[in-house]
Symmetry: C3
Subunit: 328 residues, 3 copies
Amino acid sequence: MNKHNIQLDHKGRLRHFLTIEGLKRELLTDILDTAESFTSVTERTVKKVPLLRGKTIVNLFFEASTRTRTTFELAAKRLSADVLNINASISATTKGETLLDTLHNLEAMHCDMFVIRHPNSGAAHFIAQHAAPHVSIINAGDGSHAHPTQAMLDMFTIRRHKGAFHKLCVAIVGDVLHSRVARSQIHALSTLGVREIRVIAPRTLVPAAAETLGVHVYHDLREGLRDVDVVIMLRLQYERMRGASLPSEHEYYQLFGLTEDKLALARPDAIIMHPGPINRGVEIDSAVADGPRSVILQQVAHGTAVRMAIMSRAMQHEGAASAGEAPS
Amino acid sequence: MNKHNIQLDHKGRLRHFLTIEGLKRELLTDILDTAESFTSVTERTVKKVPLLRGKTIVNLFFEASTRTRTTFELAAKRLSADVLNINASISATTKGETLLDTLHNLEAMHCDMFVIRHPNSGAAHFIAQHAAPHVSIINAGDGSHAHPTQAMLDMFTIRRHKGAFHKLCVAIVGDVLHSRVARSQIHALSTLGVREIRVIAPRTLVPAAAETLGVHVYHDLREGLRDVDVVIMLRLQYERMRGASLPSEHEYYQLFGLTEDKLALARPDAIIMHPGPINRGVEIDSAVADGPRSVILQQVAHGTAVRMAIMSRAMQHEGAASAGEAPS
Amino acid sequence: MNKHNIQLDHKGRLRHFLTIEGLKRELLTDILDTAESFTSVTERTVKKVPLLRGKTIVNLFFEASTRTRTTFELAAKRLSADVLNINASISATTKGETLLDTLHNLEAMHCDMFVIRHPNSGAAHFIAQHAAPHVSIINAGDGSHAHPTQAMLDMFTIRRHKGAFHKLCVAIVGDVLHSRVARSQIHALSTLGVREIRVIAPRTLVPAAAETLGVHVYHDLREGLRDVDVVIMLRLQYERMRGASLPSEHEYYQLFGLTEDKLALARPDAIIMHPGPINRGVEIDSAVADGPRSVILQQVAHGTAVRMAIMSRAMQHEGAASAGEAPS
């Protein structure tokens, strides 16, 4: 990797967290280990640590998502940072200001970190390329490109339940083609060295480059679930169905909805994951979602600790340490 | 009371605050006494106490109310808690997530208390029935059922001005049928042992069970106000008027609007209360609302201290004390 | 000045900050000096001072402006105050509550400072006239009347770059007629004693009383820019153009848009300012806005320190110092 990775500072430390692609296994493992230490913080009576006291973190959301915004707000507050929530679609940009003007204005106010959610793939990268030296960018989901913090909390959940990655066979089920979550999960699983990654999806919802990513593609759920250790269900995005790329919701459930009888084909100790929010009776049966092998709520629980780990790690980059980078 | 009250933990301490009904006089009095101590906090220069530092309180509002949300947010911040504001009607539920999925997700994030506002009667109870052991639920108004924190700040205001409850005659005036505030006030006044509770309302706006609640019903304002110590005006809900259950706004004011000449029939030292926001010239004349006997703004002022008392008491329940109740 | 200035307490200290008009040079200079000391705070790693800990500051916005709200929220948080954001247009007032009822309710909750944004000129004054003794009002923009905190951060930026005011010639360019920013800037520049203030605008966009304010009016941009030290561009408000008081956007740019060739007429070390958000290619060319003489982002950077200075000064007034002013 001669080309410098924009996500790292010159000493190779994390600065931005935009995508799993290009990050080394050691760095991912360090995040998981750091998250482990924060897990106890979120469970004790006083759930705060003073790590980011006096820092300002901006949730800059160009796409409404109370759920995702809440997880980042909680993580930031538990690190003792000040948090600003900006719903950008209904504010500055309506006055014709450009995306970069919005960024540079908030930088000038000495904000330290921007958590970006944007409907366009690549938006977080674009912002990171133009960010001031003291600023860190966290990608909270950009178009159908990446959702790396979600992938990391999924890895954390898998490691907690299954231990070493190299023995595992993991299946990702659903609309992989449009899923930023799936894309980030595949990169993370691959970097962490799982034995086998499977993608189970209708022919129309598999990315063209799937095989080159080193995954095995299945179009039959029963076949694909055979002997897997981890089943990751994806959320069916209703808005994608309008493109006629999918049969009816009912037919989808028949073919790709996870039910107890289909799950019987996986390993007996397989765990079931889902990034949420779940569509009960569409991609997953309630009996499975709420059943003993579901770790869906644990994913949510781990999300806070994992995001605390990523945010605190990113705030230790070179530029952040020295003050006075902003215009004066 | 053999049946266990869901609002109390196994040692009889407050855990949820859903309704006044079923709570004992000692518990209500303890809340009022605790609020008394917080009154000085809200009046000093640094208005914070560290009681709930590191706790996360979620304002989960399924019905927009900046006013009510603000009072709870202030109370929580003055207890040093972290606060998340979630307007649920425009977030998770639009993605088809169920109410319980929303609850369980926030619980998994180790939130400690949920302040619930919901248009459906019974929503706060429903949520409390399904809440994790470490979680407390506060009802901030559910349909036409209950608004217990409002009733408690009303009791606090009455006690501050009138002392002992057992000597008092209290009149509640207006649309009692649809009022969650009135329902909670009647239970609180009754539990605290006032001498007489009167309900003054048009025939169409008196609940069928009024008499069984131990109240005296009047349909004439002048008659009902005679010799009362406390007059509680209710807000006229315009949305209710469309049901043709009421005459015109003007006619309502003639019959049930509180004016100085009607007020002359009450005791000379009677106080006037209103939960706000007031409709000037509809249920109350401005001269009365802003007059010397009005304690309407004092109700607001006491609201912070009373909510601090309820929130801090509820956070001392059994499950809250021990950490690690959440999924891991 | 025999008539008491509502902005000052009885000892002449700042209490409200509503308009620059009527404030003495010493007071403005004191604010600039205080802001100087806060500049270092916003640039260090822990950007907080405990000056307003335990105080509650309410952003009460009757006009949506994420940008302005954000700057005040940041300033308040860096002073360690608690902040409530209230978008008043979509809350209390929709229930028919009057503006003063909203004010008095928030006062009763022991809020200490209100930052008011309102579409009507004079709204902040009106609120200040009715505010309780313990409360301070900051005008964050009222109609086309005043935007005094913006003017002060502009003065701060000018002083940082140009030193003494008395030598300077400052030009304000654009829709001065409708600009609350321009009005406050003219009062500030005049009070601080600049040598010359110029207004450069189409005939239809110059206030009738311009000459009486002591400014020189130009209708030709090239002529007006000659030898100026500071160029302040105003934002073109599209909504004003509908009134047919302006030619097309393109024609406006030809005549009054700031380009490098027109700027060549100003002094070689002239600085370019703009309150933001900028309309690129309408009132200013991108080459100028992003060029070496632009201090537009520094204005934003200084905004936090200047607002911290104004807020902390206003909280030292007589009523604020003593507790217990609120109803009890």
